[in-house]
Each structure stands twice: as structure tokens, then as C-alpha cells.
């Protein structure tokens, strides 16, 4: 099981003929993901790697292949259009990897996505993976993952891999891993993903990794502290050493006031009952102790 993806997930890749798109479409396929279609306007009728049909539009791809997940690698100036096209074609789950989409483009697309009831992961994210279902919709290295019962959610790419690597090294498998993205306006929040883990019978515990900027971690803390959320959770906030007012790589990682700091977020999570991971080197061991403490290991 796990969240978002399963054996029935059929992936279409927007931008499959580009450098990034082709590289990662291949890697997803090699992992076991059903990549059923590619979309590149003007390239309809071609076959990608002699196996995956390429279409001119998302609508054509969905009609022909019953694809139900879109994975987007389209360059920033065209990415908002690509997201909207998948929403329009009725694709219920979209992951947009593209980094550098103008914020004003996302302002409009965000409202369109929400009004349509579609789930968007990202943009500026590594995507998502369900190791048990051998389904990878994103750019994460598949080989570090291991099927299991811990859910991982983070804003970042490589830091998620770091967390997963530490878990797998200790023999702790993952039900699913989701990177929600480092931009200020993203399709799914921490609360959205925590909610899915809370309802997933195959997730025993969650590893939650936040960062400086915005107040999404405080909203997550409120949810974690409520009676609704019932699972053990370990959390880490990175960016304690970041200076105020400077963008730390991610467009959204910027301290603009007290609530955006790592200290403030960590305090909120601690108060909500989350187990605090002391440093980024301790993700695996803290998860292990927490699982043991809860009698889950």
C-alpha cells in the first residue's frame, strides 16, 4: 500500500524527449514504474526508447493509455502551462519537478488545481516513491529505498535521500516517500501528506523534515498535536544556521520573521508531541529509537 502511488499507477511524462525528462523517464521505468506515455508538443507519433508512445497533448495521451499520474520535466517558462494541461485532461495526480517557475504563474495555477480537486506535488520537488509497489514518480535514486512501514515527507530532494539512506542502513523500510517542494507556492502542504499517512494502514510512523521559511511546519504541528493525528512522528527542521533575509537555495527557504526560523518551528513541533531529531546526522537512529519505544520494531 503506502500513499499516492500503487501497482495501478500509470505514468505519463511531460517533457519526455528533453534531457532531464528522458533520463528520469528511463530511471523510473528501470525501477519498475509503469511509464505508459510521453508528451512533447510536436513529437506526437514517436516512440520513446522504442517502447513508450509520445503524444502531442496530455489529452491524447490519457485517451490512448489511461494514464493517471503526470510527471512534469518541462522548463520553467512552460511549466505552469504543462500543469494546467494535465489538470484540464483530468489527470488526478501530478508531480512537477521543475525548479524556477515564476511565482506569479503558480499563483494562478494553484487556484486552478485546487478548484479542480486535483492533487499536485511540487513544483521544485523530487517527486514521490512507493518502494513496496516498485513505483517511482520522480528523480530520487531508487536503489536507496527499501519497502517497509515508515512514511517520509520533506520539502527537499537530496535531504530526503539522506533521510532514506539513514533509515535503510538501519534496516528500516519506507511505505512511501514524498518531497513536497522548496517553492513558496506548492500544490500539497505537509498537512495534506501527513493526513494521507495518518489514514494509511501500512504506515506505522512518519519521518517529517521541514526547513526555514513560511509557516507550513507550524500548521503541521497544529495537525500533529490534534487528536486526529494518531501516529508516532519524528521531525527535523534544517536551516538553524541560516542568516535572516537570505534565500538558502530553495526559493521558499528564507527567514522573513520569527515564525520562519528553525527554532520557532522546532518549538512548535516539540509542543505538539513530535520527537525532535537532534541533528541531520541522527535521522535514522532517532527513528529507530522511536519505533522501539512504540513497540513497532
Amino acid at each position: 500500500m503506502g500513499i499516492l502511488l500503487d501497482e495501478q499507477s500509470r505514468i505519463l511524462v511531460q517533457g519526455i524527449t528533453g534531457r532531464e525528462g528522458s533520463f528520469h523517464a528511463r530511471a523510473c521505468k528501470a525501477y519498475g514504474t509503469q511509464v505508459v506515455a510521453g508528451v512533447t508538443p510536436g513529437r506526437g507519433g514517436q516512440l520513446f526508447d522504442d517502447a513508450v508512445p509520445v503524444f502531442d497533448s496530455v489529452g491524447d495521451a490519457v485517451d490512448a493509455t489511461r494514464a493517471n499520474v503526470a510527471l512534469i520535466f518541462v522548463p520553467p517558462p512552460f511549466a505552469a502551462d504543462a500543469i494546467a494541461e494535465s489538470v484540464d485532461a483530468g489527470v488526478p495526480l501530478i508531480a512537477c519537478i521543475t525548479e524556477g517557475i515564476p511565482v506569479q504563474d503558480m499563483v494562478g495555477v494553484y487556484r486552478y488545481v485546487k478548484a479542480s480537486g486535483v492533487r499536485l506535488i511540487g513544483p521544485n520537488c523530487p517527486g514521490m516513491i512507493n518502494p513496496g509497489a516498485r513505483c517511482k514518480v520522480g528523480i530520487m535514486p531508487g536503489n536507496i529505498h527499501m519497502p517497509g512501514r515508515v512514511g517520509v515527507v520533506s520539502r527537499s530532494g537530496t535531504l530526503t535521500y539522506e533521510a532514506v539512506g539513514q533509515l535503510t542502513d538501519l534496516g528500516i523500510g519506507q511505505s512511501s516517500c514524498v518531497g513536497i517542494g522548496g517553492d513558496p507556492i506548492i500544490g500539497s502542504s505537509f498537512v495534506d501528506i501527513l493526513n494521507l499517512y495518518n489514514d494509511d494502514p501500512n504506515t506505522d510512523m512518519v519521518v517529517f523534515i521541514g526547513e526555514i521559511g513560511g509557516t507550513m511546519e507550524q500548521e503541521a504541528a497544529e495537525y500533529i498535536g490534534s487528536s486526529e493525528f494518531t501516529k508516532p512522528i519524528c521531525s527535523l527542521i534544517v536551516g538553524a544556521t541560516a542568516p535572516s533575509g537570505k534565500r538558502m537555495g530553495h526559493a521558499g527557504a528564507i527567514i522573513t520573521g520569527e515564525s520562519a526560523t528553525a527554532e520557532s518551528k522546532t518549538r512548535a513541533l516539540e509542543a505538539a508531541g513530535a520527537v525532535i531529531i537532534p541533528t541531520p546526522a541522527d535521522i535514522g537512529v532517532t527513528a529507530q529509537q522511536t519505533l522501539r519505544g512504540a513497540g513497532l520494531l
Binding site: 511565482v103 494562478g108 530532494g157 539522506e162 538553524a240 537570505k246
Partner: protein, 388 residues
């Protein structure tokens, strides 16, 4: 990308927003001439990318051309240190000389992107001249906020409401509301992350004028504003940060001595936290990106090594797309080019790891390999201890 006040004011004028008569001067003589043309009185304002100029001595009302010349002479070529800059400040290369305004009241207005609203907001306050942070701290009720529904834009009723709450009435209120909707057009049509006017004034005759102007344009949207590219003033930016940005490397200068090379923003933040917890303060944040080439890694390491504070280097590469051998070659290339000898703690994982280690091990450089973040922290700590 930040714009200078005089650049933003030129755009304001194009959008029909009243601004004071002004002239840009890059010599004391030009400033004196401008003051003379305004009848021997005016205000001289340092053009720098930082707020808090007034308190820092970068703005002065002068009563004669000679006074304008002297003040400008002191400013040009100097570096202005304000509460928004670091201790070395920002260079003053030009000043804006303006006619004095007849100020009856001062207000604050700004447009920015609000993350919780996921769209633009208009923020205003009748306490002009004060920083909005100060107003928020001392009198939060005085802050007026209008969330903009982006599909509608900032509506006329919202502009009227804000003008009224700012205390305007009659023709002044009509003009104020009109200026707000023009500011919103500037904000959206130029992909700004911030448009700020502090103060927006009402003159003795009831005229509304933008006495100051601040515009930040979103870097990710610059590709569709070729007219704004020429307005970039690199001298105002941190030189290493600007060089990194040219090569699409995210770099932020910090105070410590450990140079950090990492791929991925989240992992880079995490790496700084680990170094700091180990008692080895980082000299920089650096995300070299996912698909980096040998040359790009070399550029990144070159930037790290150009910082005289750097006494050791921490490499943390989680090689997925970025292969470890590519990273290793790039590192060696930069060290050779800079004839650098600073010791390195290297933690690499992923594709072509053994080849990467081999390259570094045979480079003749002082390299400590570690497999985990914990070991990397211990290695840094040991060295920081040894250096005392």
C-alpha cells in the same frame, strides 16, 4: 533583483504615478547643479540596494548648492552601512537629487506575495516614514492588509477602502486609490516580489506623491523582462554571490571558516547545521545543483576557495544525478587552479563512489574520507579542536 530608487521611480513615472522632480548625479558638481536648478534647496539621497539609508547618513536635506556638493562628495565612493547591510556596507556610486516636497502627511504602502494567501497582498499604514516591521512590533492594529484575488486583481473598491483608512478624502482619496491600482499594475506586469513606497505623501495642496520607491523583481521571471536586465547593478551585490548566481549556483556567504560544497538546498542547509553543531562554523551555504558538470563543480569550489576565511572544506555529495567521479574531478581542478592546500573532509555517496574516492586519494590533497554525516562532524570537530 533589486532596483535602485531612481530606476523604480522612472518606472513609476511611466505608469503615471507622481514623483518629485529629480536628477541622478554621479559627481558632486552634477549634484550641486541639480540643487541650483531646484532653487538652491533639495534632498540628496544615496542610491544603494539597502533600506535604512536615512538613519545611516545616506540622505540629507540641503539648503545650498555648496552643501549639496559637499554631502555628495562625502558619499560618492564611500560604502554605506545600514541595518540591512553587513558590516562592510554597499558602495555609493550615484545619488538622486530631488526637489523638496511640501509634506502634510506620510503613509506606507507596499505590494508583496503572501505565502499563506498564495497570492499578492496590499499592505498599508498611516505611519509613513517608519519601517513596517517597526509598526508591526509597536502598533500592529495600524497595519491595513488587503488580500488580492489574483483572478480579479486589486479591485477599485479595495483601493477606495485603503485610501479611506489611510485618512484620505475627496479628490485626494480618488487620486490615492488610483495610485494604488497603478502600483498593483507595476507589481504584476513586472513580476515583482515587492513594490514599496515609504513614504507615500499627501502635500499641503492635497496631492499624493511617491517620495520613495522600491522594486524587487523576481529572478525566476527575469527571462520575460529583457527591458529590466540592464537595470541590474552588480556592485551592490555580494561579489561571490553574484559570481555564483551567474553560473546558476546557489551561494550565501556566512561568517565561519568551513567552506561547504553540497548538492541540493535541503542537504546543504542540513550540512551547515551538522558542521555548526560540531563546533565548526560554516563559511558559506552552497548548492551546486543536481546536474552539475565537472566545470560547474570546479567553479563552485573556486568560489569557496576565493573566500579568505576558508581554512577547511567540507564536501557532502549525495550522488544521484551528480556522479561522484565528476564531483571529484571538479574539486581537484579547482584546487590546482587556485594552488589551494586547505584540508578537506569528504563525504560522498552514490554513483561511481569508488572512482571518485580514487581521484581524490591520488590528488596529493589533504583529504579525510567519511561515510556518514556523523563521521564528517567528528572529523570537522577534531580539526577545529586541533586548530584551537
Amino acid at each position: 533583483m533589486k532596483l535602485h530608487e531612481h530606476q523604480a521611480k522612472t518606472i513609476f513615472a511611466e505608469y503615471g504615478i507622481p514623483i518629485p522632480n529629480g536628477k541622478v548625479a554621479s559627481t558632486p558638481a552634477e549634484a550641486a547643479e541639480a540643487i541650483s536648478s531646484f532653487g538652491g534647496r533639495g534632498v540628496v539621497k544615496a542610491q544603494v540596494h539597502a533600506g535604512g539609508r536615512g538613519l545611516a547618513g545616506g540622505v540629507k536635506v540641503v539648503g545650498s548648492a555648496e552643501e549639496g556638493r559637499e554631502f555628495t562628495d562625502g558619499l560618492l565612493g564611500s560604502r554605506l552601512v545600514t541595518h540591512q547591510t553587513d558590516a562592510s556596507g554597499v558602495p555609493v556610486d550615484t545619488v538622486l537629487v530631488e526637489e523638496l516636497a511640501d509634506i502634510a502627511s506620510e503613509m506606507y504602502v507596499a505590494l508583496t506575495m503572501d505565502r499563506n494567501h498564495r497570492g499578492p497582498v496590499l499592505i498599508a499604514s498611516a505611519a509613513g516614514g517608519m519601517s513596517i516591521e517597526e509598526v508591526a512590533a509597536t502598533n500592529p492594529d495600524a497595519i491595513i492588509t488587503e488580500a488580492v484575488e489574483p483572478t480579479l486583481g486589486l479591485m477599485p473598491f479595495q483601493c477606495r477602502r485603503v485610501a479611506a483608512r489611510l485618512g484620505m478624502s475627496g479628490a485626494t482619496a480618488r487620486q490615492g486609490a488610483d495610485i494604488l491600482s497603478r502600483l498593483y499594475r507595476i507589481f504584476t506586469e513586472n513580476d515583482c516580489s515587492l513594490v514599496e513606497v515609504n513614504p507615500l505623501i499627501v502635500t499641503g495642496e492635497g496631492e499624493v506623491v511617491a517620495l520613495d520607491a522600491k522594486m524587487d523583481v523576481e529572478d525566476d521571471a527575469l527571462f520575460r523582462h529583457s527591458n529590466l536586465h540592464a537595470l541590474r547593478d552588480r556592485s551592490q551585490e555580494d561579489q561571490l554571490e553574484a559570481r555564483a548566481a551567474d553560473d546558476d549556483i546557489a551561494y550565501v556567504s556566512l561568517d565561519g571558516s568551513v567552506g561547504c560544497l553540497v548538492n541540493g538546498a535541503g542537504l546543504a542547509m542540513a550540512t551547515l547545521d551538522v558542521a555548526n553543531a560540531a563546533g565548526a562554523a560554516p563559511a558559506n551555504f552552497l548548492d551546486v545543483g543536481g546536474g552539475a558538470t565537472e566545470e560547474k563543480v570546479a567553479t563552485a569550489v573556486g568560489i569557496i576557495l576565493s573566500d579568505p576565511k576558508v581554512s577547511q572544506v567540507l564536501v557532502n555529495i549525495f550522488g544521484g544525478i551528480l556522479r561522484c567521479d565528476v564531483a571529484a574531478r571538479g574539486i581537484v581542478m579547482a584546487y590546482e587552479e587556485h594552488r589551494a592546500t586547505q584540508p578537506m573532509v569528504v563525504r560522498m555517496l552514490g554513483t561511481n563512489l569508488e572512482e571518485g574516492k580514487e581521484i581524490l586519494a591520488h590528488s596529493g590533497l589533504d583529504v579525510t574520507f567519511t561515510d556518514t554525516l556523523t563521521e564528517a562532524a567528528a572529523a570537522l570537530s577534531a580539526r577545529a579542536g586541533a586548530q584551537g
